[in-house]
Amino acid sequence: MRGLRETRTTAVENLSAPSLPPAASPMTAHPTRRKILLGSFCLCCLPSAIRASDAGPFAMQEIAEGIHIRRGLDEEATQANENAIANTGFIVGRDAVLVIDPGGSLADGECLRATIAQITSLPVKYVVMSHVHPDHIFGASAFLKDAPVYIGHARLTEALQQRGAYYREKLSALFGPEQTGTVVLPGMEIRDRAEIDLGSRIIEVIAHAPAHTVCDVSLFDKETGTLLPADLLFVQRMPSLDGSLRGWLKTLDELKNHAAARAVPGHGPVVVDWPSASAAITRYLTVLERDTRRAITEGTSIEAAIKTAAASERGEWKLFDDYNTRNATEAYKELEWE
């Protein structure tokens, strides 16, 4: 288990937020709250695009044997969608279930948890938090009652310390503190790589150098040859750069050499061919790097450069205008130090 370090698993309450039931306390001790939660996710919390009429709160797709994924909406977080905008899901082994990712809010996480219970009676023993962004991990506190091992990059805790409270405030403003969830820090921190045994099913966890963020992990399921790179792979939805442009391109290069047959993007279709589906994001990041570097070399200021960088990609991505200027700003401030 090289690269593993056991640390704490801590649920952190915001001072102003109402308390959630402690992890050790069964939900049956809070019948009223349980009823409210069940009521909310069955009746109103999920947009119909996600909710399945009979299969449970989520429309899940079993993209490979035992790997169930929910398609996130290609939207920004809104009150209506409760931040169910990332692809989330779980892997079922012989003995246990591993979740990746727990979802964008407590409500989103509760929906996922209820869906898991409809598909398998096996316990959720692992919850992977693929990186710091709230659309992927704010559902983590929905699983506290299962007392799983929360797994994240060795730098996830630091990232959550810088941003967790801010994200929580922002999401709370959208759909209220009760539906938002609390910040959960990883109990198992991955520095390099680790293997998780779900019972006759080994899941490899790989910690990456700064790429999409400074704390990305990807999973590889050896059983089915499925790569789960989370937000290292965006398909159709505009990528957001929050780590290192050069690092992300390098990481994609490394992942392309992975002997995977398919991959599960963090946003976009629930399953794509690998590595061919990485071509579009690689192209976008390469164009962004080329345009930004050219601007810097020519002495173009940051405020001018971010208006034009990667403009040729506008027609290729959903939500392009929501992210490109910001990505270009990140790219400029990284590359200007070269």
Binding site: E76, Q161, Y166, A173, G299, I302, K333, E336
Partner: protein
């Protein structure tokens, strides 16, 4: 100034809720500015100065943690100092720059943090003691990726590194623009640690002195409103040759110094 300290402590929490809404009131924003002007400049008269000073900033900041700002003045020879005020930031005085004989106030570029929807004011102080202001309203859109002030702490290993870039080709008799980058987190002390609910201590750039062959180009007093890895673009006088010396001090009393030889075209 108690009010600003309070705003600072709560800034993360109020960003999208009550404070922004309360300050939406234009009268409240005017009152805020009047109060700030009094705090910063005392009883001195500040004149409307659109003909003398120009402030460029994006109407909507896509990245609230890095908002590029350009200040230019019509008559650089008359200008002694420039002040940038971000009214609703926890530390409103983002930068106060005093120019020396080797500096040229014609154009000054900074990158700042904007905490919430706010007015920005740029004030030129002339050598005869006049104060001229212009202002802009900036919408900081935040975004879910990075709150203003988060920082890759791995970069702390490079703290104090500097890079200088000369902009354009030298033209006889004209001032030359130079861009200085300094690696520094400029921690604003507003990140909350969820484990302790305390705040990561602030550590930020306080002063910057730039001289050319021993003559002052500029002196900058600053605070937590500068973006991480502060970048400042300024102009040096026509004789832009020789040694450009930089000395920066931060709030931990660390000193970062670097010399650039302009004779060989900068760094």
């Amino acid at each position: 100034m108690t009010r600003f300290a309070l705003t600072g402590a709560l800034a993360g929490a109020v960003l999208f809720t009550s404070a922004a809404a309360a300050l939406d009131d234009e009268a409240a924003r005017t009152a805020r500015w009047n109060e700030l002007a009094q705090d910063i400049f005392g009883a001195r008269q500040i004149q409307q100065g659109d003909a003398k000073i120009n402030l460029e900033a994006p109407e909507r900041a896509e990245d609230a943690a890095l908002v590029p700002v350009t200040i230019s003045v019509q008559n650089p020879k008359d200008v002694k100092s420039i002040t940038l005020v971000i009214d609703d930031n926890p530390a409103p005085v983002a930068a106060h720059v005093t120019f020396g004989p080797a500096g040229d106030p014609q154009s000054l570029k900074l990158r700042v943090r904007v905490n919430q929807y706010t007015y920005m004011h740029a004030i030129a102080e002339t050598k005869d003691g006049g104060l001229y202001e212009t202002h802009r309203f900036v919408k900081a859109s935040g975004g879910c990726s990075a709150p203003s002030g988060s920082y890759d702490t791995a970069a702390l290993a490079e703290i104090g590194q500097m890079k200088l870039r000369l902009v354009g080709d030298p033209q006889a008799g004209q001032a030359r623009e130079a861009q200085l980058l300094i690696r520094h987190p400029n921690f604003n002390g507003m990140q909350r640690d969820p484990a302790t609910l305390g705040y990561t201590p602030a550590r930020f750039l306080k002063t910057l002195d730039v001289t050319l062959n021993g003559e002052r180009v500029l002196h900058l007093d600053s605070d937590i409103s500068l973006a991480a890895d502060p970048a400042i673009t300024f102009a040096v006088t026509a004789l832009a040759k020789g040694k450009l010396a930089i000395e920066a001090h931060d709030s931990d009393n660390a000193v970062f110094a670097h010399n650039f030889d302009l004779g060989t075209g900068g760094s």
